[in-house]
């Protein structure tokens, strides 16, 4: 007989003896549907995937033509380090990424603020933004090559345009969502127009602008690789393309792993920026 059944029976028996209604605790029903932190699990899952992959390659379950093992990919990265080519590829890629993203973001914030503040600018530029935003910017690369040359200019321009539009949209919608009561408060205390913009509107739009950064940064990486695959001698994208053409799967995976690390570092940096600038949020 189970413990529960036994307990019930004793309770029932006791109740019968005292001629009273049975007394029992109210069952708990509020559990579940809530996430708890499991710090070590994420690392373990990651290591497990790598380990299965490595074992699969070594035992021949995974065909070596289809996929290189993690250790081979790591070897390819070490080759890159030893030959010094890592810095050449990575340096050029980071230069294009940083230059394109920074320029695109700065221009995007500038135009976004103008659209957010001046209805004339909004009326003039909104249709243009709506028309140009959905174009995959990589389709414009040939045009950029004609305009800015086959060198760095065309690649930076592609990333610039790709990050510009999402930043514009994030910025002006951030400004649109600033609490009108705060602006009214600023006016009621006689604050100068520029003070209201600088001290109320821009900080109020900052959360939206920073989450726009996340989107524009991932767009920038996609465009970087695409642009480098189309017309570059060096750079992570070019390295991956060459590796693919030579069927060097280990190098290909090494290149992809480097991209993943770039993406993770950028996400971490933006997370730090959010912590620093938005610590006032709950």
């Amino acid at each position: 007989m189970s413990h529960d059944a036994l307990a019930k029976e004793t309770a029932v028996a006791a109740a019968a003896k005292r001629q009273e209604p049975a007394t029992r605790p109210v069952p708990f029903r509020g559990g579940g549907f809530r996430h708890r932190p499991h710090g070590a699990v994420s690392l373990l899952a990651f290591l497990a995937v790598i380990a299965f992959w490595e074992i699969g390659c070594r035992t021949g379950i995974i065909n070596s033509i289809a996929l290189a093992s993690p250790s081979q990919a790591f070897g390819a990265i070490m080759d890159l380090v030893h030959t010094g080519m890592l810095w050449k590829h990575l340096g050029l890629s980071l230069y294009r990424l940083i230059a394109g993203w920074t320029l695109g973001t700065l221009l995007g914030i500038g135009v976004g603020v103008m659209i957010g503040l001046f209805s004339l600018v909004r009326a003039g530029l909104m249709p243009l933004v709506s028309a140009l935003f959905p174009i995959p910017k990589i389709a414009l690369l040939p045009l950029f090559i004609v305009w800015f040359g086959i060198g760095e200019g065309s690649k930076v321009a592609t990333i610039l345009f790709g990050t510009f539009f999402p930043t514009v949209i994030a910025t002006y919608s951030g400004i649109d969502n600033v609490d009108r009561n705060l602006i009214r408060m600023g006016q009621s205390f006689g604050l100068a127009w520029l003070s209201i913009v600088r001290k109320i509107i821009i900080p109020g739009a900052l959360p939206a602008i920073l989450s726009g950064f996340r989107i524009s940064a991932s767009i920038a990486i996609v465009l970087l690789v695409a642009a480098e695959m189309i017309g570059a001698q060096y750079g992570i994208g070019a390295y991956i393309l060459t590796a693919g053409a030579l069927f060097a799967i280990d190098k290909l995976i090494a290149g992809v792993a480097i991209l993943s690390v770039i993406g993770l570092v950028i996400a971490w940096l933006i997370g730090r920026a959010e912590k620093h600038f938005l610590d006032w949020r709950t």
Partner: protein, 256 residues
């Protein structure tokens, strides 16, 4: 400085919200404005402070604001309107920054108003760390820092719970005893209106018109004790408001 509200009327699109509103806010006087929801009392307050323009009528200021007043007509908002990214000190400092006040003088003003609102220990706290009552005290401190001639209070206690409301009402009375500020106090809460107002202006339902003006002679600091007399005034006003409030309520349900 006195304020004269002269024959204000206003329409929003097709609906007339306010009609023929005229009254005076004398120096050191708190005028409570009370009325059913949707009678345009908050709109009226925005006209008085120059945040919106009425279709007809005008608001006149008589005489000069007191010397050193940085912002003669100063609002206190229902939702506090604090910048969440600025500390308590920073929120007060915000309204001083455009007036060319030296850093040390600004610090002195901030310390002074925070002390007067019992916030001296919370200068470095962010708004999210504060209770509702404290947030509104920060807003009051901010308003005091610009030395207003008239405070325009738009349901300042409506977002607070009952106990905090009582405490803050006591604070406001204490403050008035010391500073003798003038104020327009818009509320839908009868108890607040009669506790704080030297006169209570009762607005009708839409279009808002002055139904009646009730003068209350009991000094502000004695009102907590002379609760029976105050209760009589409150009942008198309630008998005026009740029918208006009921009809305003029916009106809304019929529209919806």
């Amino acid at each position: 400085m006195e304020l004269i509200v002269d024959n204000i009327g206003h329409d929003y699109a097709e609906t007339e919200v306010l009609r023929d509103i005229s009254f005076t806010v004398k120096r050191g006087e708190i005028v409570s404005i009370i009325g059913p929801s949707g009678c345009g009392k908050s709109t009226l307050l925005r006209f008085i402070g120059g945040l919106e323009r009425p279709d007809s009528g005008r608001v006149l200021a008589v005489g000069d604001p007191p010397a050193g007043s940085l912002n003669p007509l100063t609002y206190i908002f229902q939702d506090f309107a604090l910048l969440p990214w600025r500390t308590v000190e920073g929120n007060v400092s915000l309204v001083l920054e455009d007036h060319g006040i030296g850093a040390s003088e600004a610090r002195a003003i901030i310390a002074d108003v925070l002390r007067r609102t019992k916030l001296a220990d919370f200068g470095k706290a962010l708004p999210r760390q504060l209770s509702g009552g404290m947030k509104q005290r920060v807003a009051i401190a901010r308003a005091l820092s610009v030395r207003p001639a008239v405070m325009l209070m738009d349901e300042p206690l409506s977002a607070l719970d009952g106990q905090t409301r009582e405490l803050l009402m006591d604070d406001l009375i204490e403050l008035w005893m010391r500073e003798r500020f003038s104020a327009c106090y818009v509320t839908h809460n009868l108890a607040e209106a009669v506790r704080l107002g030297h006169k209570v202006i009762v607005l009708s339902r839409r279009p808002g018109r002055i139904r009646e003006t009730v003068e209350i002679d009991i000094p502000l600091n004695e009102r907590a004790e002379r609760i029976v007399e105050l209760d009589r005034v409150q009942h008198q006003i309630w008998s005026i408001v009740r029918e208006e409030a009921r009809q305003a309520d029916m009106e809304l349900t019929r529209v919806a």
